[in-house]
């Protein structure tokens, strides 16, 4: 090595530690950035090429230090696990929100819920039984019946409005997934370019991974790492993002009546979405229709029970009873014939003793509809409670996975400070080395050959 070579050894020390300090500063600046992975530069010695030659001119002292490109500390496996847990977490939270809405709509136990309305309706039949010849009691049972039918319709309407809201939420969610997927594809392209040019790509990868986590929340994706930092994103067995190309999803609510499906835009086949989109789909196609069906069953039960007894009776004119309720596609309604003329309420057991109210009394004893409704509320309570527990457990698991990820990739201020101190000292030492070489050269240049002067 030449004498001046020593200066470049000192310079390499200054440069390498300067870069290490930059990275420490970058880490500290991003200490609170979500999804940021701490970065490192590796320092490695530069040595002269050592060839097996007689005239090898190395003195073995080395040429200084080299700083690698900054890279991020990141655990692919923790990342994959985090995707799964985040997908499950957002799916459960979405289902929980929907069941919470259903519970709020059902509003039980209370003095205003459907159970109280059914009780009130049944009690009103006793009033008819007590005063079968009183037209006002008959008018009252008709009005209470109409109110009950309207309340059933209102509850069913709130279910159907909920379903419509969730469908628009689903459309927005799917549109969001498409935007995020193309952003991931775009970042993949830029990462590939950066890696090919040997440029630092850690921050781009962090951005991309944050977007992939968003995708996991939305539709529950899995990833397959490819060469050069590129990551492919899969939804089920189909690729949502392959390298720099993103596929798209769309909502299909028309192909199968009554089913709102998320399908691949190009292929038209159903996508296996989980995450919040999957949960929305489940709520729209399964949960809400199930409760609507149960509510319809309660109405049908009420209609069947009341009509079965009512048609055995005789009205105030001595004519055989007509059905009190009608069940149409819009749900329960009071027979318009009875609504127009309450004397057609059949309270009497025989056509001769028309002041008899025993049929009305028997109607009041019907408990089928109340039990069916009770069973529906019980089912709702159990389902909702189960999902609340699952959400609590899952959010703990998700927190742990996040903590594991943070343990690998998070920035610790103390560590960075310690690194900074070490870097600072090394920088100062390199500077001191340069001034030592400078001083040696000064001696050589200015103070050599002056003997005897």
């Amino acid at each position: 090595m030449s004498d001046f070579g020593a200066l470049s050894v000192g310079l390499s020390g200054l440069q390498a530690h300067r870069r290490a300090l930059d990275v420490a500063g970058h880490n500290l600046a991003n200490v609170n950035s979500p999804g940021y992975s701490r970065q490192r530069v590796d320092l490695s010695p530069m040595t002269e090429p050592v060839g097996a030659a007689i005239f090898a001119r190395t003195n073995g002292a080395g040429l200084g230090v080299r700083a690698s490109t900054a890279y991020r500390l990141h655990d692919q496996f923790t990342e994959i696990r985090a995707l799964q847990e985040h997908g499950a977490d957002s799916s459960l939270k979405q289902s929980q929100a929907v069941l919470g809405q259903i519970e709020a709509a059902v509003n039980e136990p209370s003095d205003t819920g459907m159970a109280s309305q059914i009780n009130r309706f049944m009690a009103a039949w006793h009033d008819v039984a007590n005063r079968p010849d009183d037209l006002s009691a008959r008018r009252q049972i008709v009005e209470v019946g109409k109110t009950l039918a309207a309340d059933f319709a209102r509850l069913d309407g709130s279910f159907s409005a909920m379903s419509a809201n969730l469908t628009s939420e689903l459309r927005a969610g799917v549109a969001d997934v498409n935007v995020t997927a193309s952003a991931v594809a775009d970042l993949n392209t830029r990462i590939l370019a950066a890696v090919n040019a040997d440029m630092p790509a850690g921050d781009l990868m962090d951005q991309r991974d944050a977007l992939v986590r968003t995708l996991a929340d939305q539709v529950g994706v899995t990833t397959r790492p490819q060469d050069k930092g590129v990551v492919d994103v899969y939804l089920g067995t189909n690729a949502l993002v392959r390298g720099g190309v993103a596929d798209a999803l769309r909502v299909d609510a028309t192909s199968t009546p009554g089913v709102t499906a998320v399908v691949w835009d190009r292929l038209g086949v159903t996508a296996t979405a989980s995450g919040s989109v999957g949960a929305l789909q489940g709520s729209i196609n399964t949960t809400i229709p199930a409760y609507r069906a149960q509510l319809t069953a309660v109405q049908l039960q009420l209609s069947t029970d009341v009509n079965a007894v009512h048609t055995t009776g005789f009205d105030l004119n001595g004519a055989a009873g007509v059905p009190f309720f009608q069940m149409g596609p819009g749900g329960l309604s009071v027979n318009p014939v009875i609504d127009a003329d309450p004397s057609k309420v059949a309270a009497a057991a025989t056509a001769t003793g028309l002041r008899d109210g025993s049929v009305a009394g028997r109607i009041a004893d019907q408990t089928g509809a109340a039990s069916a409704y009770n069973a529906m509320v019980l089912h709702l309570g159990i389902e909702s409670r189960t999902i609340n527990r699952q959400v609590a457990t899952q959010s703990l698991v998700t927190e742990q996975v996040d903590a594991a990820r943070e343990a690998t990739s998070g920035v610790n201020i103390d560590e960075e400070m310690t690194n900074m101190i070490a870097i600072q000292h090394a920088y100062a030492a390199s500077a001191r080395f340069i001034s030592a070489v400078d001083s040696m050269l000064d001696t050589l240049i200015h103070n050599t050959g002056l003997v005897g002067r």
Binding site: N32, N119, M122, D356, E399, A404, N412
Partner: protein, 301 residues
């Protein structure tokens, strides 16, 4: 979080945030319970409890209705009792008049005066027998008069126009009480009812035939006996109804208590829980302040 993990400022603050979130959410749940006074405000708070609460509410509504039915039935019985007491008085007076008429020393004018009074008594008895409650004759069974027909149990000739229908009030779980008596039950069969007896008595008095009077008086006694039997029946039914109503009220109160046990909070327990949770939350807040604060920076110059 396992101890072997590398800890960073962000992971520490995330952990603290998660704990604080859990703490404040538990606090919120307890505050909701205390402020609303309800243990169950939605089905998921306790599915089994909700189901019991719905059953109890439906029971309470039904038992409440039984109570109203019993009050209505009590009204029927009380008014029947009034009508029958009145009828008994009328018949007793008629019997006195009959006994007076047997005395042969009466002249035609006296007899006519007695006969007119007996006619008046018959009218009174008829109006008592047609007593109605809320527009419905008490003793006409379930018969509904046709259009233009009088709304009575006995028409002006004393003929029963009602039927043999029973009026029953369910007054407790699985228990009903019949609250009506039909006309023939208390005023006698068509052939020889109380009105015919009084008509005959008046005719006998006018006809000046004391020899027939004892028969008439026997007939009055028979009619009076029927009324007395009717009164006894009404009394027994009132008794039965009141017993059942009392039992019904007790079981309704029991259910109201059970409902409140299920739905309402146990206040001392809820307040203690709230206080404990507040303490836990404050502790985690002060722990958070300590965990997040220090770093190496505080100790460098």
């Amino acid at each position: 979080m396992s101890a072997s993990f590398r800890v960073t400022q962000r992971s520490a603050s995330l952990g603290v945030q998660a704990n604080l979130q859990r703490g404040i959410s538990a606090l919120q749940t307890l505050q909701d319970k205390v402020s609303s006074g309800r243990e169950i405000s939605r089905p998921s708070d306790s599915p089994g409890g909700t189901s019991s609460a719905l059953n109890l509410r439906s029971d309470i509504a039904r038992l409440g209705q039984f109570d109203r039915n019993a009050n209505d039935g009590g009204g029927w019985l009380a008014e029947s009792d009034n009508a029958l007491q009145g009828s008994a008085q009328v018949l007793r007076r008629a019997r006195d008049l009959g006994a007076t008429a047997v005395n042969a020393s009466l002249n035609a004018t006296d007899r006519e005066a007695l006969a007119v009074e007996v006619d008046g008594l018959r009218g009174q008895l008829l109006s008592l027998a047609n007593s109605s409650r809320l527009g419905r004759p008490l003793f006409s069974g379930n018969a509904l008069p046709g259009v233009g027909q009088p709304n009575v149990a006995f028409d002006a000739t004393g003929t029963y126009v009602g039927d043999a229908g029973t009026v029953v009030r369910p007054v407790a779980e699985g228990a009903s009480v019949q609250v009506n008596l039909t006309g023939p039950d208390v005023y006698g069969p068509a052939a020889n009812n109380a009105f015919k007896v009084l008509t005959d008595l008046a005719a006998n008095i006018r006809a000046n035939s004391p020899t027939i009077s004892p028969t008439s008086i026997n007939d009055i006694d028979t009619a009076l006996n029927r009324i007395q039997t009717g009164l006894a029946t009404v009394g027994a039914r009132t008794n039965q109804l009141e017993t059942l109503q009392g039992r019904n009220i007790v079981s309704r109160d029991n259910r109201v208590n059970s409902l409140s046990e299920i739905e309402s909070i146990d206040l001392p327990k809820a307040l203690t829980d709230l206080k404990l949770q507040e303490l836990a939350y404050q502790a985690s807040l002060s722990a958070a302040a300590r965990v997040i604060q220090p770093s190496l920076m505080d100790f460098l110059r």
